[in-house]
């Protein structure tokens, strides 16, 4: 069925079709609509979910953890401060290897308080042991939310699926929905290896794990993350074979003969692709790489993509506040260390607090990257793009 949906509506539709056992959530702009839509599905009997309208995000994720440990299929949604309040519980969810799916609507973290998009919220949680998949549009948000359930339950790690606040969450686009009965059929039931509700076989979860065991358990979790990429790839292929929409780990656009490229995440993928087309019309050999799966970081695929060009503009919608630039920039510099082919890198920190990034601005980035290619050197590695006073 083809419909017009915002990102939030698309994610809520996915949740309705998934029909999780438990949803525990708390309202926060710009993710509130997901929770609202879901509450109406519960009220109208469209889902059989036990819905827990928690009194905070911390409690929402805590309830998700309890429910997932009890064997339920569990989902939640949040943004920015909500994710920050969940921070403690993010690590506990992943450390307990609980396959929770979280719809995250990217919003700038306070302070100053702001409700619009940047990636500072999810990127501040990048080391929490959650998979992070950044989507480009409502269709991808919808499809990825469904896939995330399967990915999480196979890897036994929680998954965060993100959309850009307002840009995707409130932007309406064409979305192709899967038939209601096909989603649960494709997902199957959650089969938890151990659950709290098996009272005849009692288990203890969340033990005190000291010097003699903690490291081994953490090592297993690291190994699960190390093994996650092939599972994501398998699920994405299976999804494509079943429903006809295929997704990459790293999205490459007109990269075959590109000399310079930008690397982006989220909705800037869409804006950037238009900029690439315009530049191509002018005869400029430019391309775009979009990091879709951000955690685990797709080292090999990313290397393969970015080493195709001589100059790479890495566009980060957050800063690490470390003097070292943005997150993607640091990840890419790290993976390029052993690489023989090493493009010149320039880091563009842009769009903080929802500052718009236009097609023209990305075209200007391309012009600058082409100049760098001609000169053969980068004068200033980290720039703040689209901000007064630069």
């Amino acid at each position: 069925m083809i419909v017009a949906r915002t990102g939030n509506e698309a994610m809520a539709e996915a949740m309705r079709q998934i029909n999780p056992d438990v949803v525990a959530a708390y309202p926060i702009t710009p993710a509130t609509e997901i929770v609202q839509h879901f509450a109406s599905y519960v009220a109208d009997g469209l889902v059989t979910t036990e819905y827990v309208p928690a009194e905070s995000e911390h409690s929402a994720l805590s309830a998700c953890i309890g429910a997932a440990a009890a064997g339920a299929r569990v989902m939640t949604a949040t943004a920015a401060q909500g994710l920050a309040l969940m921070h403690e519980m993010l690590f506990i969810a992943s450390g307990m290897r609980l396959p929770i799916v979280l719809c995250l609507v990217n919003r700038a973290l306070s302070s100053p308080i702001n409700i619009h998009c940047d990636h500072s919220d999810s990127l501040a949680s990048r080391d929490s042991g959650w998979l992070q998949i950044f989507t480009e549009n409502p269709q991808e948000a919808y499809d990825t939310t469904i896939m995330a359930v399967k990915i999480a339950e196979e890897i036994l790690l929680p998954v965060m699926v993100t959309t850009d606040g307002f840009i995707i969450s409130h932007g309406m686009e064409r979305v192709e929905l899967i038939d209601d009965d096909k989603v649960p059929e494709w997902l199957g039931e959650r089969k938890a290896p151990y659950t709290l509700l098996d009272v005849d076989n009692p288990i203890t979860i969340g033990m005190l794990d000291l010097q003699d065991y903690y490291f081994e358990h953490k090592r297993q979790e690291i190994e699960a993350m190390n093994n996650a990429l092939p599972v994501i790839e398998k699920v994405q292929k299976d999804f494509g074979d079943t429903f006809g929409r295929y997704y990459p780990i790293v999205d490459e656009y007109r990269m075959e003969d590109a000399e310079v490229a930008v690397l982006v995440m989220g909705s800037t993928g869409g804006t950037g692709k238009v900029a690439v087309d315009r530049m191509r019309k002018k005869g400029k050999k430019v391309g775009l790489v979009r990091c879709r799966v951000y955690r685990p970081f797709p080292r090999e695929r990313m290397l393969k993509a970015i080493t195709k060009v001589k100059v790479l503009g890495i566009m980060d919608r957050a800063d690490t506040l470390s003097t070292l630039g943005g997150h993607l920039y640091n990840d890419c510099r790290s993976i390029l260390y052993e690489s023989e082919a090493r493009p010149l890198l320039k880091n563009y920190i842009y769009g903080l607090g929802g500052r718009d990034i236009s097609i023209e601005e990305i075209e200007t980035v391309f012009e600058q990257l082409l100049e760098i290619k001609e000169r053969g050197r980068v004068d200033k590695e980290i720039v703040y793009y689209g901000v007064r006073g630069e």
Partner: protein, 306 residues
Amino acid sequence: MATLKELAQQGEKFLSGHRACAGCGATIVARQVLLAARYPVVVGAATGCLEVVSTIFPYSAWKTPYIHSAFENVAATMAGVEAAYNALKRKGKITKEMRFIAFGGDGGTYDIGLQALSGMLERRHRVLYICYNNEAYMNTGIQRSSATPYGAHTTTSPAGTVIPGKLQPRKNLTEIVIAHEPAYAAQATIGYWNDLVTKVRKALDAEGPSFINIFSPCRLGWAYPPEKTVAITRLAVETCIWPLYEYEKGKYRITVKPKEKKPIEEFLKFQGRFAHLFKLKDQTPIKEFQSEVDRIWERLQKRCAE
């Protein structure tokens, strides 16, 4: 009324071999509560002494399903477990009757966990929340909580040359819980095991959220000989420092009425945490503590008469 014989025949769900101190009140609470449960139970614990002493990997003292996730959220975690149970039962994936019990210390309940507890009560999750109340943060080494009584010495409300211990009276958490109109609420203590067992059974049969605040001495933090644990709880009841009462269907009832109300000194004098009060030239702190206890006891009696 439970009999000791009946309880002795009930299989233990909280086993020996854990690492609690000799004379620990919290572990007696866990054992008595689980012995009282006539249903299979899933247990959650907040971070704290009980959690730390009972689940050091790879050993667990819990012969019943158990989860610990963090400090401030055992009410929310168990609300999630109960939600999962409701969902899976509705879908026919679970058929067994079972109950859910959350254990938190006073730090995890009165202070950092108050919001999650309030949420659990307001959303009417059918969970029994047990506060094992030892009146301070004992696991981190005896720091004041909002359950710490007036005058008590703790490491963060030390009895100094100028300030004689904690200057504020205890928060009345049981009344805060009752303001949520739970299905059942009570105060209990381990020295009155039959009263405690009866309350746990009532709470587990109540259709809705329930809460029992269980006075649970800590021999280390209160500084008394370990063999006095049970005796101290009896003195707490006899002095009306810890009244045993319940709240059910809108009615208050005192469940154990002391024959004669003893002065609080009888309770205070056994414990090192109050020793400094007796050395003061000015006995005002003890008098103020006594008048606070009297005021709350009288108010409680009035509520029971209503």
